[in-house]
Each structure stands twice: as C-alpha cells, then as structure tokens.
C-alpha cells in the first residue's frame, strides 16, 4: 500500500526522519518498506493490517519506533445539532452474527459539490477517484483512520428504514459504478424495504447514492464479520479498498473516532447540521485485553536478558498499559486496535521487535547430544543417484503432472488418477502415476541436442485406489540413441542388474505382457524380488513414441523405489572365500529356440545345489548345424566347497544329477 510522506508528516509537529531512513527503520522493525517517488510503498504484514492500514495507524507505529509525539487530528464536534438520528431513520440488524457494530449518524442541510483540490489530490495520490465532497470525505476518513464509511441519501431510503440482512437468492444490485451484481444467500447487504442499497463492507449501490440534489445524509460506520466480507468479495470477484480493510479486521472502537471526524470534516466542506445522537447497534462491546507477561519467559524465549526498565519503556512507547507489576509477573492492557495481540507470545514479539532482533546476541543451544536417526529413504536415494551418475546418466527433475491428452493417449484409467480440481492448465490436470511419462518427453526434447540421452529421476508418483490418494517414491531411467537398438537394451539391462547386485538384492527378470500401453508388447521384462513385481524394464511402445514425432528406439525401466530400499536394507550375508580349489566343467545344452536362457541356468543351478557355486553362460549358438529351431547353450559350471577339496568322483555324481534334470526338461546334452 502507498503512503504519502507529506501527509504522514501532518501527524507530527517534529520532522519525520528522511524517507530513506524511515523505510530502513520500518523494514527492520515493522514491515517491508520502499521509496516510490514521493511516496512510501509498504508491504504491511497481515497481522498488522488491522492497526496500520491507515495514516493514523502508521503514524502511531512511527511514533513508537522514533519516540516522536503524535499530533492528533481534530475530532471536535460542531456545536449546533440536528435531531437525533433515530427520529429520521430506523435500523434493524437481522444478521446479528455477521455484524459486530452498526452505527448511523444523520447530517442535514449539506450542499453537495466538488471537493477542494487538497482533498482531491490526496485521494488521487492514494489511488482513489474523486466523486463529490461527501463521498470524498468518507474515503478521506477511511485513508486517514482505516474505518470504511458509507453515506446514503436519506430521501432515497424507502420507508426510512435500514435493514442489515442476508441477500436473497439471485437478488440484484447496481453498484455506484453502474455494474450489476447478482447476489447469493449468505451475502450481507444493507437494504431498505425495496431491496439492497449496498453490498455490506464492499461497495455502495446506485439507488441511495449521494447526488447534487442530496441535502440529508445518513453516514454509516460499521464493523462487519471479516470472514463473511472476504467470502462475499471472493464470490463476486469484487475487491475494494473498504473490503481490504474489513477482511483483515478493524477495531470496533474506531467507529466513534471516525464518525466524529466525519462530522467535523463534513461541516467544514459541505456545511449542514450534525445529529445530536447516533444509532448504535453494538451488542457486545469489545474489551481491552489483559495479557499476563512473565518477564522470565520473555528472556527465555528471546534468548536475551532485557532489563525490566527497558521492557517498561517499550510497552509505554507502544501505548500499552502496565496495570500491575508483581515481581516478574506483569499484567499489560492492550488497546483494542491491536487485534493481533491476544497471547503472551504476541506481546513478546512486540517487545522483541521494538527492542531489535539485531540486538540479540547469537548463542548456540545447550542441547543434549542425541544422534539423529538415519533417514533410510535419503540414504538410499543418495546411493542410487550416485550409482546412475557414475554410470554416465544425468539426473532430471521433471514435473509431477501430466496433461489430459496424455492420459487419453496412454489409455490411463481416469479413476486411477489423482485429478487436480483447479489445474494450472489442461497440460497439468493429473498427478503423474509414472515417472517415465515425463522422462520420455524430456528425452525426446534433449535428443535434438545430443545423440545419446541417458537420464534418470527419483521422485514421487501418485494414483488413486478406491478413492484413496496414494503416493510412492519411484526410480526411473531411460536410454535412447540415434539409430542404435540392441546395444541400448543390453546397456540398460546391465545397469539395472548391476544396481540390484551391488546392493545385494536378488531379482528375477521375466518376460511378461505389457502392463501398460506405453511398453512395447513382447519387449518387456518384469523385475521380481521375493515373488513380488517391483518394476519393469524394456522398450517403450514405438507407435506411441512416433506420435510424439520421435523415431528411434527408447529403452527404459521404472522401479518402486520404496521396495528397492526395503530389499537393500535386508542384511547382506558375507560369503566366505573358499580355500579349496574349484573344479570347472563345461557343458553344452541343446534346447528349443524359444527356451529362455534364464530358465536353463536356473534349472542347472537348482539341481547342482550348494556345491555348484556358479553357472556362467559362455556361448549361445543357433545356426545351420542345429536341428530345427534349436539353440545350443554352452555353460561353465564351477564346483567348489568351503569345507574340503572336491574330488572328481564327487563332481561326476553332481554332473549326473544335472544331466538327469536336463533330460527331464526334454533338453539334450551335446556330447
């Protein structure tokens, strides 16, 4: 909000600090301030809006910070008086919960005209339009004291009765600027028997507006429920200066000051006689709060011992009142305009900031040495990220969202996705259930610059399960090269296998049907550990990728990182190095062409038992000399015991068992 430096000066006899000094002071102790031309631009904190959203309030704050004396505006009332307000107008507040205070003041015999240039200029400098002397003075008082004011033309109030009520469904109002608003139930309006005269706390209507013919006016100064005003303003999409003040709350006692000031100023600019008595609906007058202040708590919380004389001085400068002092237990009375202060900590903040946070000496805490718990997720993320980085892959931070089109193209079940009710745009409508969807986009984009793109990401993925929102850490990696094909698959498969082996996890890779449309059918492996699928590895669907204008093959893997972490955490057992020699036997097995290599190795290993320490694939042959579609696998079997030296007789026995298994599987040992 902008404040004019010269207007601010009017509240002090003594000169204000120079603008540069003033903004530094305010920034440090109150809220951010900058110089903008001959004005001050202030970013008043939410909790201080109630007392500082006005020249008077800001002046009070500056007085506290600088110790200057405030020069109070003239609140004196004119001597000649008109009839009491309730003789000319009556008032009924129906929505008692939404109205803290409602005050009306009658003034008769005003002459409506243009404002003086001084007032016009002040309003314009503060971003307000000038309308006529009555409305302008109302706005002037709002700027000066922070109390929104509204003036009605008494003759236009039908039945001379003001009703404060909730709007009816679809009730309409035309505001001062000629705009039509359709109101809803629950919105607070100021009405007469014909209908709304104003949207309470937000904007006045045209019907009872002040015109050049007006000579009897009713001035409203009210205090509405801030939540209600805020809601209405949001629903109507209508924000005004009055509303901005109401939604942060206002001191209800400001109304007397504001009405007195109005009476004084109207008399000055428009003449007329002010009523003897006002109508005042104020069922529960606000009382000043008493805060119990424990001086030991002050020094404990701030971490500095401020002398009690200094604390007293600060409290006095703040215009708070110490009403009792019992040793280190004080009672402090807080003026009603400080709506932000309701607990001792609020008062301690006041003492701390005015004392100056700069003055507090830094001091390391005296705390017991409790070693923090290891965060396993962070630990394994670090290890995994390092693994990928060392393998030559680059880390990506992609977006957590996917678009509506993507969800459709990929055939994702909408009910399984988490939908954002108010998305930024259609491109970010759902939370992404797989990292690969966005990694693919990233890869395609980067292939314009690089021939080979190998990337990875560890981040949360999201989905909905029977209406419940789920999230999980996933790991995904993706590799694509200009032209290349088979080499990429071997690379990424080797990468994933190494990742698991290095972390002591045994996994099985098994060819499966594509679990989602973006995998290429027939080119996809499931990653299984402990009988549970924890991820997939393979080629991405070429047809779908082509739609994105990309032609090269893409290989990728996506793994449930939380499962990976659990498996990695399991104790890894040390395998003793045998001091006895190993015996090697090579073996060629002829199997049908579609038999999986893994199956053969698995069967041989299983049969060989504990003494068959390792089975390595040495060669695969599939060609002319093979009968039908058969292939020949040459395996090297490594026999070794940790307890004794094996002799060839023992190995022969084991080999026989292996031969038997091969025969049972309808495979053949090549002699």
């Amino acid at each position: 909000m902008k404040f004019s430096y010269s207007w601010l000066q009017k509240f002090f006899k003594k000169g204000l600090p120079a603008p540069e000094k003033l903004v530094t002071l305010l920034t440090k102790y109150s809220f951010e301030a900058e110089i903008d031309g001959d004005q001050l631009e202030l970013d008043i904190l939410h909790n201080r809006a109630a007392d500082c959203f006005s020249y008077w309030g800001l002046a009070r704050e500056i007085a506290t910070l600088t110790g200057r004396k405030l020069d109070v505006p003239d609140f004196s009332l004119p001597k000649k008086k008109a009839v009491p307000t309730n003789k000319v107008v009556s008032c009924q507040v129906k929505e008692k919960d939404l109205v803290n205070r409602y005050n009306l003041q009658y003034i008769e015999g005003v002459s409506v005209k243009k404002s003086s240039s001084k007032i016009q200029k002040r309003l314009e400098n503060n971003g307000l339009q000038t309308i006529n002397n009555i409305v302008d003075v109302a706005n002037y008082v709002m700027l000066e004291l922070g109390q929104p004011i509204h003036a009605f033309d008494l003759d236009k109030i039908s039945g001379s009765k003001i009703i404060v009520r909730s709007a009816k469904k679809d009730e309409e109002i035309i505001t001062l600027d000629g705009e039509k608003y359709v109101l809803q139930k629950g919105m607070l309006v100021i009405a007469d028997k014909e209908g709304p005269l104003a949207i309470a706390g937000i904007k006045g209507g045209q019907r009872a507006a002040i015109t050049s013919e007006t000579d009897k006016i009713v001035i409203e100064a009210a205090n509405f429920d801030s939540y209600s005003i805020r809601q209405t303003s949001r629903q109507l999409g209508l924000r005004t200066d009055a509303e901005a003040r109401f939604e942060n709350g206002i001191d209800p006692h400001l109304i007397e000051k504001a009405q007195n000031r109005m009476a004084h100023l109207i008399k000055e600019v428009a003449g007329g006689e002010v009523s003897k008595e006002r109508i005042d609906f104020y069922p529960q007058p606000m009382e000043e709060k008493i805060i119990e202040l424990d001086l030991d708590y002050v020094s404990s919380l701030l971490g500095v011992k401020i002398p009690s004389t200094k604390i007293k001085e600060i409290i006095n400068n703040l215009r708070f009142e110490i009403i009792s002092q019992n040793q280190r237990q004080w009672k402090v009375k807080i003026p009603t305009y400080r709506l932000d202060i309701s607990i001792p900590e609020d008062l301690i903040e006041e003492i701390g900031r005015v004392y100056g946070y700069e003055e507090i000496e830094p001091c390391f805490p005296k705390a017991s040495l409790i070693p923090p718990q290891l965060n396993e997720n962070r630990f394994w993320q670090k290890r995994t990220k390092d693994f990928f980085q060392q393998a030559g892959y680059n880390e990506i931070y992609s977006f957590a969202f996917i678009g509506r089109d993507e969800a459709e193209n990929l055939d994702l079940e909408k009910e399984d996705l988490i939908k954002i009710s108010n998305p930024i745009s259609q491109n970010y409508e759902y939370l992404s259930p797989y990292l690969l969807i966005n990694l693919l986009k990233v890869a395609i984009e980067n292939r314009k610059q690089f021939n080979k793109v190998g990337i990875f990401e560890i981040a949360k993925v999201f989905w909905e399960d029977e209406g419940e929102q789920k999230e999980q850490w996933n790991l995904a990696t993706l590799l694509t090269t200009a032209g290349e094909h088979s080499q990429d698959f071997i690379e990424i498969k080797g990468l994933i296998e190494s990742l698991f082996t290095q972390n002591g996890i045994k996994v099985w890779l098994k060819e499966v049907e594509a679990p989602e449309k973006w995998w290429q059918e027939g080119q996809i492996l499931s990653i299984k550990a402990d009988e549970e699928t924890i991820g997939y590895l393979g080629q991405l669907n070429g047809r779908l990728i082509e739609k994105q204008g990309y032609e090269d093959s893409v290989f990728a893997a996506e793994i449930n990182f939380e499962k990976f972490k659990e498996l990695a955490l399991e104790d890894q057992e040390y395998e003793p190095i045998s001091s006895y020699p190993a015996l090697y036997r090579d073996l060629s097995v002829i199997v049908p062409g579609d038999t999986l290599i893994e199956e053969v190795i698995h069967e041989v290993s299983r049969t060989g038992g504990k003494l068959l320490r390792d089975v390595d694939l040495i060669d695969v042959y599939q060609g002319e000399n093979m009968e039908g579609n058969n292939k020949s696998l040459t395996l090297r079997l490594v026999y070794q015991s940790t307890e004794k030296a094996l002799n060839s007789e023992e190995v022969k026995k084991l080999q026989k068992k292996v031969f038997k298994t091969i025969k049972q599987k309808d495979w053949r040992v090549r002699q």
């Binding site: 440090k28 900031r353 830094p362 990506i396 931070y397 999201f462 209406g467």
Partner: protein, 329 residues
C-alpha cells in the same frame, strides 16, 4: 667331444646368441642336466685316475668361468632390451586424457545434499512427509483457519477426495505437525521436499518447487539459538562469513516471526529464510502440554539457495530438464 672342443664350441655359441632366449638355450646345452659338460664328465669312467682328476678340474674351472660369461652377456642383452623397449614404448605425453564418462547430478540434488550435510553436522535429523496432504495439516493445524486472509499467500492446488478436500502441500510446514504428532521433544529436524502453488511460471516463480523446513524444540530454545544456528548454516554453505539481517515478519504458525536476509556479494539484501518461534497453537495441534516447550521453525527456498549458489537467474532452468544446463554441474 673332448673338453677343449667343448670350450671352443661353447664360446662360439655364446657369441652367436643374440637374445635372452638363445642364451638360456646355450646354458641348457652346455651346463644343463643333459648338457655337453655332463656328457664329458660321464665319459670319464673309462679314463685313468690322473686323467680323470685333470679333466675334472679343467671342467670345473670352465663351468665357473662360463657361468660368469653367460651372466655377463645376459646383463648386456637385458640392458639392450630395456633401452629398446623404452624407445619403442615412449608415449606422447601431450595427448589429451580420456574423459571419464560419468553423468551429472541435478544442481538441486547437490545443494540439498550440502544443506542436509551441514544440518546433520549440527545434529539435525532429516524427515519427510506426504505431498498430497489434508487441509488440516497444511493450514488449520498451523493456525491458518479457513477464511484467514493470510491463506491468500498460499495459492493452493486442490484435489477432491472422499475424505474431504485434499491438496498439494503449499509448503513443507505440515511436516512439522506430522512429525510432532509422533515424536516427543527435545528434537531437531529438517524436512526437505517438493511443494506446489497455483501460480504462473516466470523467472522467479513456479507452480512446483522445493523447500527445506527446519524445526528445533526443547525446554529453552530461543531466538538467540536460532540466530546462531542459521548464521552457522550460511557461513558453512557459502564458505565465508555472511552478513545477515533479521527483521520482523509474519507467519500464523510462529510467534514471534522474522525474516532473514543475507547480503549478497554485490551488497544487496536478499530474502532467504522465513522463521519464528513455534506458535502455541502448534503445540496444541500436536497434543503437547501447554507452555512446556519452546522452539524455532524455519523455511528456506531450496531453489533460491541453488540459484544464489550458482548465479542462476531464471528459476525455469531448474525444471525444464535441458541437459545442456544439467551437464554443467
């Protein structure tokens, strides 16, 4: 063959030998177990004792001398071999080294690690919380009830749920409540993580970004303690003594609240941390005994910290996954 013939033949052979292998062959042929000298000694049995003695002595002297000669020639050849090898295998030391083909960690990861390491060294644990959370944890428990004007500070992305409205957390502060509900003080933690806002993307704002939350609670934790710890963090992070400014701030979940600015190398004040003493409402939310505990909480923008560290002037670079950018780190 008699001994004199053998001597002559042996020396000729040695002279001819031009490499180590050949020398070893000569050694075998002459002095070996089945060598010529042995044959001569074997044939002595049919000679007279005097002759045997004479030839025996002669053979011994020859054996000793020839062994020396062999050794000498071996040494010469070895020397020749090494000097040739040295010449042949001379490397061009000016050729460029082969680049190690490692990948790159995202700058956010690197800065987050550094931050975590510093706080860990100060005794802070690292905790995490959900990204899709309840309105309660993100707002109400933090003393930001519905209708509170400061809710406007957090433009929220909402998610419909059968358990009432859920949201994408707008800050990492809800992790405070999740953690406090399950842990008793004293403790000190940081909670890094991804947060979301309904905001337009520009050079300094995005709808998805990272924060680091900090929380330390004990019996007498104070503003002075916070000042010391945050100053220590800055000094370690920037590797120099950083000038810091603490000024009044406002957050519904802390009381008192403050903002921390640090002075950049160009002498400009940069807003980097929002902080304060934990508001009593939070102790109540967590079910703690009233006014038994004191503590501070703070929030740092990880993106801001990263941008500052590397002189990045556009936040979007951190999230548009351009490898030309990432490969620089």
């Amino acid at each position: 063959m008699d001994i004199n013939q053998l001597k002559k033949e042996a020396r000729q052979k040695l002279k001819k030998a031009s490499n180590l292998k050949e020398i070893e062959k000569v050694e075998q042929e002459i002095l070996g177990k089945k060598g010529a000298l042995r044959d001569i000694l074997k044939s002595l049995s049919d000679k007279s004792l005097a002759q045997r003695k004479k030839i025996g002595q002669d053979a011994n002297v020859f054996k000793q001398n020839f062994t020396k000669e062999l050794k000498k020639k071996k040494a010469v050849l070895k020397e020749q071999h090494w000097s040739r090898k040295k010449k042949e295998e001379k490397l061009d030391l000016t050729q460029p080294g082969q680049k190690l083909k490692t990948g790159h960690l995202h700058p956010l990861t690197q800065v987050l690690r550094e931050t975590e390491d510093i706080f860990k060294s100060l005794g802070f644990g690292v905790v995490e919380g959900p990204e899709v959370d309840n309105e309660y944890y993100n707002f109400d428990a933090l003393n930001i009830p519905a209708g509170h004007p400061s809710r406007d500070e957090w433009d929220t992305l909402w998610v419909k749920s059968k358990e009432g409205d859920k949201l994408l957390r707008t800050h990492t502060s809800p992790v405070q409540i999740h953690f406090m509900e399950n842990n008793k003080p004293p403790f000190r933690i940081i909670a890094p993580g991804r947060v979301y806002r309904h905001e337009d993307t520009n050079k300094s704002h995005g709808f998805q970004f990272y924060q680091i939350e900090g929380l330390m609670i004990g019996e007498d934790i104070s503003v002075a303690n916070f000042k010391a710890l945050i100053q220590e963090f800055f000094n370690q992070f920037f590797g120099r003594s950083v000038e810091m400014r603490m000024r009044t701030g406002y957050f519904p979940f802390t009381e008192p609240s403050f903002e921390i600015d640090i002075k950049s190398k160009d002498g400009e004040w940069l807003e980097l941390v929002g902080a304060g003493m934990v508001h009593p409402h939070l102790y109540k939310s967590a079910g703690y005994e009233e006014r038994k505990w004191q503590g501070f909480a703070f929030g740092i923008g990880l993106d801001r910290l990263t941008m500052l560290k590397y002189g990045i002037d556009d936040l979007r670079l951190l999230y548009n996954s351009d490898l030309r950018f990432i490969k620089q780190f």
